[in-house]
Symmetry: C2
């Protein structure tokens, strides 16, 4: 019997990763090509198609009965409805890129070709391969350089009217607060992303004049969220307060999401979640504080079960299985 | 040919309104009974069933070919999935009331019997009879004593995991801000409901020591949002600033909702919306300020087209048509 597999493609700012993923969410073969910092889109799509054909060839050598069901792509500002990438701030492609149309030219017979943004892909990945199997209503938050999210209602991803639903990282936590990467003030992403945690550490060091903190010898460009975690493990007060405050902010934001959607669970994914209880405990505690009585002690906050290294490829490939359900 | 109609029931804190609604959303016959402030639930359900049978009798006298398709009920904390009213703070019924089960005993052959909360019912009403006909993704905000909301995704109401989705009135606008009726701090409802506007007026009079305001002779218990509107029309600075601030808060909250759901439009319903541009203009302006570029100038903020007097009955009746779609 044929072994059915899906291709996952993760388009990042500098690198595009391509993998073949089996139905259990294991990456069988992977490769990557640069995402161009300039140059024309047709050339990039031709390179991408070439790399996809290479991984297909490699996996076919491993198992000659392999059947490729489709290609799922995660990209910043990827629009599921139109198959386009629209005005993505971190990519060099300008305006609206007709990604699926262009790729279809290279794979005219491929059953499923689908695009969405990386956080939406991660949510579908969690549902198909991860900790959300069997859940019909949940939300995924990805904490990294930014904060992305993907919303599942009744077993389907919420794309909204124009394909861009699930931007919970850009809800306002603090009116008139920190400048977000998008230009607006006080958004969740400016507080709960990895750089947001660094900003909190710098604010706290400034507030306490904390010369004795383990973080006090790091420059703004040196400090990262992993160092904050390591300092917290050693009991550094600034680092511990960074986690407490990040959890308080994230908990406030998650409560807003619960009041919109009444999910069964919220999954957290990304670097900062490796800190475990340091981040999960205050997040849960502060979320509960903001919730209506009908929601209290009902909503689980869970770590994603997607393996961090391959999560973007695996999430993107999950789009294929979701497409074929239809 | 039979004329198909639906019954709408609106259970409020002191009054239960019952109406027969035609497919265009017109109330043909209506009546009401007291919602008991104490006493047993079986007695109330028997009274309600009696009143429903009375309106059915009345409408059958008007048109003998009438066919009753079902009964839709809107009630605070009404749970669509279980047909129960759960711990509603403004109703005298304690704990969990099995409303649909009990009513089914009186109407064993009725095709559709369905319950949800009043704001969800209003959202379905807007879709079936009102300004959201043909829209597949929109959100309804009801501004009154509280702030309710109903979310439509892909043409269906979002109930979430346990039936209580769409409580956007309880998202946090101002961390550590005003005490909300639910006990938490800084929720949207504490700012953008009709009493929220009064609270803003009192804060502003205190801040400016505004003895010359048209509102300065009203006690806290006298002042209402209609008086604030009338003072704004006369150019009263405090009243004008109340609308400006209410719009700023509501705009912030609507932007959070847009970032979750990417709706085509947000509908506003309720007393404060009668102020027209006084409230719609600052709301729109401030919502735009908080939005990601991909959402800017795309999301309509529209007044509900449900007639205010009958909206609760009409909204509840819309549940019946929605049930029969299935």
């Amino acid at each position: 019997m044929n072994k059915k597999v899906a291709i996952g493609v993760d388009i990042g700012g500098t690198n595009t990763a391509i993998g073949v993923v089996d139905p259990e969410g294991n990456v069988m073969v992977k490769d990557n090509i640069p995402t161009p910092s300039h140059g024309n889109i047709e050339k990039y799509i031709a390179d991408l198609a070439g790399a996809i054909n290479e991984v297909i060839k490699s996996v076919s050598l491993l198992n000659k009965d392999i059947e490729i069901l489709g290609i799922g792509i995660g990209a910043p500002n990827g629009n599921y409805y139109s198959g386009t990438i629209e005005y993505a701030p971190n990519l060099s492609f300008k305006g609206v890129v007709r990604l699926i149309d262009l790729l279809r030219g290279h794979f005219p017979k491929m059953e499923a070709l689908a695009l969405t943004n990386d956080a939406n892909a991660a949510a579908i990945g969690e549902m198909i391969y991860g900790g959300a199997k069997g859940m019909r209503n949940f939300v995924m938050f990805t904490l990294g350089t930014g904060v992305g999210s993907g919303i599942i209602v009744n077993g389907d991803l919420v794309y909204g009217h124009d394909g861009f639903a699930g931007e919970c990282g850009h809800t306002t936590l603090v009116p008139g607060g920190r400048r977000c990467g998008c230009g607006a003030l006080g958004h969740l992403e400016a507080y709960c992303s990895a750089p947001g945690m660094k900003r909190t550490a710098f604010e706290l060091m400034a507030f306490y004049h904390a010369a004795d903190s383990l973080l006090a010898d790091k420059s703004y460009n040196e400090l990262d969220s992993k160092m904050i975690y390591e300092a917290a493990v050693q009991g550094d007060k600034i680092a511990l307060e960074v986690f407490e405050k990040t959890g308080a902010w994230l908990g406030q934001g998650l409560a807003d999401t619960v009041h919109h959607l009444s999910p069964e669970a919220i999954f957290l994914f990304g670097g900062p979640t490796a800190a475990g209880d340091f981040i999960f405990k205050p997040t849960k505690e502060h979320m509960e504080k903001h919730l209506l009585p009908i929601f209290k002690d009902k909503i689980k906050i869970l770590p994603s079960k997607l393996k961090s290294g391959d999560a973007a490829i695996v999430g993107a490939s999950a789009l294929v299985w979701k497409e074929l359900e239809k």
